[in-house]
Amino acid sequence: MSFASIDFLIFFIVVILGTLIIQKFFSKRVKEIFLLLASYFFYGYWDWRFCFLLLFVTISSYFTAKHKDKKEIYILGIVIPLVVLGFFKYFNFFLDSVSSIIGHDLGILNIILPVGISFYTFQALSYVIDVKRGKIEVENDFIRLALYLSFFPQLVAGPIVRAADFLPQLKENRKVTADNVKYGIQLMAFGLFKKIVIADHLSVFVDDVFKVPVAFHWLTIILAVVAYSIQIYFDFSGYSDIAIGCAKCLGYDFNKNFNLPYISQNVTEFWRRWHISLSTWLKEYLYIPLGGNRKGKVRQYINLFITMLLGGLWHGASWTFVFWGGLNGLALCIDKMIPKKKEKNLFDKVIGVLLTYTFICFTWIFFRADSFNKAWQVIKGIFTFQNGIRQPFVWAFIAIILLIIFTIGAIIKSHKNKDKYVEGYYPIVNLNTILGLTIFFGVLVIIVCLAFKGEQPFVYFQF
């Protein structure tokens, strides 16, 4: 079930009420079991068969981490999640690629891609590796580990919560409280607004243009690329906000997954602000083990490039994603080569932001296009000043204005707090006052009134 559905609303209300009753009358253990069952129900709502796969990954992580000192078993703990991910997500891609190379059709297997597989396999890996590294202790409680891997707010599209951050929270007696719910539902409303009001409306326009780029005027194509940059940001950060809000209502804390990525002054900064949980994961479990920056400049560039290439592949089984990752890897290497000014004036900052944003938008073309051919049509359309349908899509302008307003708000707030690093913030109001309640109800009504009415899945569900 999607966060942006009536089914989820009912499910969530039942979970909150159930948790409230359990924490009042029963032990913490009962609450853990209840949340675990709720999470499996949430996951099984898509396809009950997926639950067995999740359970299998959980069991393998549980036992392999327990025997971390035996090298073979530890390797098994790494290999099993990777094999599961590789088979379900990349097997057909592999067959297809080999077919193209040898010029003989090997056919494909009828494999359904389980939702969220990329996220929970990465969480399972982080748990086993962290145990081995001694960052966390082995979790002897199977229920607790299973709840960490299946906890419904982050199960299908992240954020990728690391065991070191979440398992200690599960050990504490976190509760559903009025304050948590008041905070959490505001985050959820904020995320929902981003998703079903802005991102879903933008998807209509973006889908139209990326379906037939040759039919559109070059300015419309540029607008569509900009619209996609906002769509994917609002879609995914909206999902993360809902996930963080859900967890907060239940008393748990997730870290921020996005932090105003489009104000980045270079690509390195962009990856510190975009999908933070994935960037951190890739850094800790791929870039650093590859050698990071400890083995000289050349190795550092190679490590960066490999990390981003694999990061691209993580997003989807397609060469366009690999190319997108490669472009970002290349940009990160170039960024590392350029010496940085210690003091930047406003002009430098603005130029940095504009250049970075333009580059990121360019890479999004490959991320969004179904094939290299479509991506080429988009690029060609822009650079040949192609004539075609002019579509000044209203929602694209609304989204741009909102993004600018949010960004300026964050810059002003950081400036007031004398922060050097501009941080995004959640517009939280005090729900104990009439003004706060009025604003909150207003946002809820606006969400329903302006919601996109078609079914539009979260972009990151496919990953």
Partner: protein, 357 residues
């Protein structure tokens, strides 16, 4: 000991009381803020989406399945942006209906002719009125009144409005189900509308209904919630699966001929749905050339004029990249006729009428 217990009891009662007071206080805050935000957003909603609602006496509507509450303003910002006022007769026209004023051309059709997604002055009706200065064009197009339904109601429409020159009907598909066509053929021309929607729609004029009708926000919320519950897959154009039934279609067209009795000329405007292929070329949907030709021939046999918009739509796209459907807040080329679509139809109708006369 007793004193202690009493104290505990008193403390317990006090905290219970304070909890109740706090809860009542919070509920009061919720109520006040709810009312406050409702009033603000209800006012704002009038500028975004104030969908027209059924007239109180719509059951008495004999010419269309229903009609709107007369003299009410409307705004429509969900698909395109249109605003205007429903006329005194319950339809979307710039001019009010005056039974003493002769109607020369009567426009009958669905939401495409109703045109509340566009500025009321951009509709086919308004444009034709501007072009044909010596004729009064009147529109009774209304949502859901598709081609077969509009024929069912043709006799009462002629009786009421007595068009002197033309009746213009519209359709986006020449193929209809046998069931629909048979219903039209078998319906008796009793000059009375007995359509299902008239019978099934409410007749309540109580306070709740009046409150609902007068609140654009409530109407929008109801509509949105209903659509969110029954969510559709991303907008896609569905091609008609019906097969062209030449015999039944001929009978339907013959029925039109019988109804109008040569008193007035009938023009059927055919505006096919469009889509773009992967090369960016315009494709006309539900538009098998053979079927359209057969339909056109049947029209000719029944002394009905047939105006096919296919070529004009293609030309306009190939020369100017303009599509007749879709708006700047919806998917390209889908949905209702936009202002360009209305303009193209008005233009072709004008030329056609000039030619005929």
């Amino acid at each position: 000991m007793i004193k202690k217990l009493n104290n505990k009891k008193i403390i317990g009662e006090t905290s219970k009381k304070s909890f109740i007071i706090k809860t009542i206080n919070y509920c009061f805050k919720i109520l006040i803020s709810g009312i406050f935000i409702f009033l603000i957003l209800n006012f704002c909603c009038n500028f975004y989406c104030n969908i027209p609602y059924y007239a109180k006496d719509y059951k008495n509507s004999t010419v269309t399945p229903y009609k709107y509450e007369p003299m009410e303003n409307f705004t429509y910002g969900i698909e395109g942006y249109g605003y205007g006022r429903i006329n005194n007769d319950g339809y979307v026209n710039v001019d009010d209906y005056d039974s003493n004023k002769e109607v020369n051309i009567l426009m009958v059709g669905s939401s495409q002719f109703e045109a509340f997604q566009v500025d009321i002055r951009d509709s086919v009706t308004s444009r034709l009125n501007a072009k044909l200065k010596d004729k009064f064009v009147y529109n009774i197009g209304i949502s859901g009144n598709l081609f077969p339904k509009s024929i069912s109601n043709l006799a009462p429409a002629i009786t009421k409005y007595k068009p002197t020159d033309y009746i213009i009907l519209e359709m986006s598909d020449v193929k209809y189900s046998d069931k629909e066509l048979r219903e039209v053929i078998e319906k008796e021309d009793d000059n009375e509308n007995n359509s299902e929607s008239s019978a099934s729609q409410g007749k309540k004029t109580n306070i709740i209904r009046s409150f609902y009708n007068n609140s654009s926000l409530l109407r929008l919320l109801m509509r949105q919630v209903e659509k969110l519950i029954n969510r559709e897959t991303p907008s896609s154009i569905v091609e008609s699966k019906e097969k062209f039934n030449e015999k039944l279609t001929g009978e339907v067209l013959n029925k039109i001929k019988t109804i109008v009795e040569n008193k007035v000329k009938v023009i059927i405007v055919y505006h096919p749905s469009v889509t773009l292929d992967s090369d960016g070329k315009l494709l006309l949907l539900n538009n098998e050339k053979e079927d359209v030709e057969k339909f056109s021939k049947l029209c000719q046999e029944n002394e009905i004029y047939f105006l096919d918009m296919s070529n004009r739509f293609k030309e306009e796209y190939e020369k100017n990249y303009i599509l007749p459907y879709g708006f700047s807040n919806t998917s390209v080329g889908t949905g209702h006729l936009n202002k360009y679509g209305h303009e193209m139809i008005a233009d072709e109708l004008y030329k056609f009428i000039e030619e005929v006369e």
